[in-house]
Amino acid sequence: MIKVNKHSTASSTIRSILVTIAVLSLIVCLTAGSTQAVGLTINKTTAQSNQIVGNNIIGGVPTRITWEATVGANETVKQITLVFPEGTALGEGANSKATVLDDLTRLDAPQTSTISAEQTTVTFDEPVASGLLIRIEMYFIALPEASGEYRLTGSYVDSAGKERELQASRAISVISATTVDVITLWMDDQPWVELWNSVLFLKVFLNPQLIVASIPALFLGWLRSLLLVLVGFPLAIPIGLAISFLRMSKLRIIRFFAAIYVNVIRGTPLFLQIYIAFFGLPFLGISIDSYILGILVLAVNSSAYLAEIFRAGIQSIPKGQFEASASLGMHPAQTMFHVILPQTIRRVIPTATSEFILLYKDTSLLAAVGVMEQMMFAKSMVASTGNMTPYIVSAGYYLLITLPLTKIIAEFEKKLAAADDNSSAPDDKKKPKMSLLERMKSIQKIKALRNKK
């Protein structure tokens, strides 16, 4: 600038160049300002759910934030600073790292990063070239406790050392902690919980925090499993009854097909039947909602077992019952429905209830084909926590149904046995039972007396 006054001819040229430069730099500045998006385009900002139950992000609990941006044309990035919202805290082991990708190829990107409750800064050894994708993962960051929408702001530095503002990221929705979260968070700080969890076995199988979290989380799954069997089993009863009739048909051919039905279903694992139904039927153009299909498979499976239970029950009814009803002029259907079945039901209740328990437990097999039931809920929790405790809690939920039912069966069988003992005359019971031989003798004696007169 000083030289301008000394050389006037040169100065005009220089001046015009300077003006051009000034104008150009202004344009550059303007374009740079207006096209910050081109400089670094933020693709997404998300956070991983840190709820043990559900899929929300809770404030005050560490989560993983993922921030992703593409380096624009003619731009390079040397350093990125992301500023956390006010009130953010760091969890134990908090850190951040950047991954650089060229399309789908991961590039080596040596870097140093620093993190604090206010911000994280990643500095690349070599500037990241244009067109590349930068993903920064920030681990164990606790977003503010108050619920709300939070954004990351910040800046980046290009290879020339220029610092530029970043666009604000898309918002992350944060909810405040639920009661279960509050309890588990409180437990996190308890010395006895820490002591307990210091034993690997207890930590992985009987984790106190996860027990608390699983109980409400699995409740819906428990209801769904229960519904599967509460609809499936009653459906199996008429099918099973029909099959048991066919099994006792007078026609050999009908008996034959009914036997095939029963033996094929009872002779193959339910697991396999589920697979065939879920992966095979669609190829036949049959598409059924998976929950309903689950119910149907359970019903068909159980019907085969019930058919045998009913058949055994019906065949255990004394022949005299059939004869008595026939001698009264009742036709076979009337005999079946009014005489035989009412008695059969009483007899088969214990075994049928056992079958119910089996079927209830077997609903868990449907998890393998993606039916949302209790096992699936537990599995999903196990998968996301890497801890087995939800399975243990799940076992508790199954026992909630199976234990009382087992007890009821035992009681019922006791009553049934007592009733069978009682079937002889009540006044017989008062005196000691006579042996068969004594009985025969006394009959002969009395007959002899009677006939002698």
Partner: protein, 254 residues
């Protein structure tokens, strides 16, 4: 109960007529050509050692056993004809079993009402009235709501008789109705049967009760090895049997 014309009719023709009845169980011939006629109002007792075929004969009359050959006629219906509606016929033939065969899930009253409602299509009230009347006749009015398991054997058998009678049968079949009972309970059942005979019921009774046969029966039939060996009025048969086998049997029993 029976009109004049039907009475006259029966006087000419037996109500049950069995002609050359054969029955095989597999290769075992249990009935080897039995002929028997029973007139209306007649009480016939059938006796014989076990395995003689007397129960099978009785069960052939209402087709609980299907005869291998031969004919059974009920009035002018051939019941061994496959075209005959056997359920319809059974309404007119009551049967009482050795093992009572009451329906254990129903009360005494319910046992009687079931077939009334389902077979004879009686209303609930009618059926109940009939049931109570019949229970009164067998002396069990106070046991109407008892389950079979709460009744003694004798009481159960009386309910079974009431159940059969409620259908207003023309013939009653008794298959060793007292054999399963303790001796002290036999009398009550026999009394009921006696009353029934007195009332003019046609009865075919398989029994070992000589006293009953002597007192009540119009005719006694002795069977052995699938044939009728000998028959006649009870006094003659018991006191002066013609056949060796009959003598043997009576000697054993008395």
């Amino acid at each position: 109960m029976t009109s004049m014309s039907s009475l006259q009719h029966t006087n000419e023709q037996p109500v049950v007529r069995i002609i050359d009845l054969h029955k095989y169980f597999g290769s075992l011939e249990v009935l080897k050509g039995v002929d028997l006629e029973v007139s209306r109002g007649e009480v016939v007792t059938i006796m014989g050692p076990s395995g003689s075929g007397k129960s099978t004969l009785l069960r052939c009359i209402n087709l609980l056993e299907k005869p291998t050959s031969g004919q059974v006629w009920f009035d002018d219906i051939c019941i061994t004809d496959p075209k005959t509606n056997i359920n319809k016929l059974r309404e007119h033939v009551g049967m009482v079993f050795q093992s009572f065969n009451l329906f254990p899930h129903l009360s005494a009253k319910g046992n009687i009402m079931l077939a009334l409602k389902k077979v004879l299509k009686r209303s609930q009230e009618e059926a109940e009235q009939i049931a109570l009347d019949q229970l009164a006749k067998v002396g069990l009015s106070d046991r109407a709501d008892y389950r079979p398991s709460q009744l003694s054997g004798g009481q159960q058998q009386r309910v079974a008789i009431a159940r059969a009678l409620a259908m207003d049968p023309q013939v009653m079949l008794f298959d060793e109705a007292t054999s399963a009972l303790d001796p002290e309970l036999v009398r009550g059942v026999l009394d009921v049967m006696r009353e029934l005979a007195k009332g003019g019921m046609t009865m075919i009774v398989v029994t070992h009760e000589m006293g009953f046969a002597r007192d009540v029966a119009d005719r006694a039939v002795f069977m052995d090895e699938g044939v009728i060996v000998e028959q006649g009025c009870p006094e003659a048969l018991f006191d002066n049997p013609q056949h060796e086998r009959t003598r043997d049997f009576l000697g054993h029993i008395i």
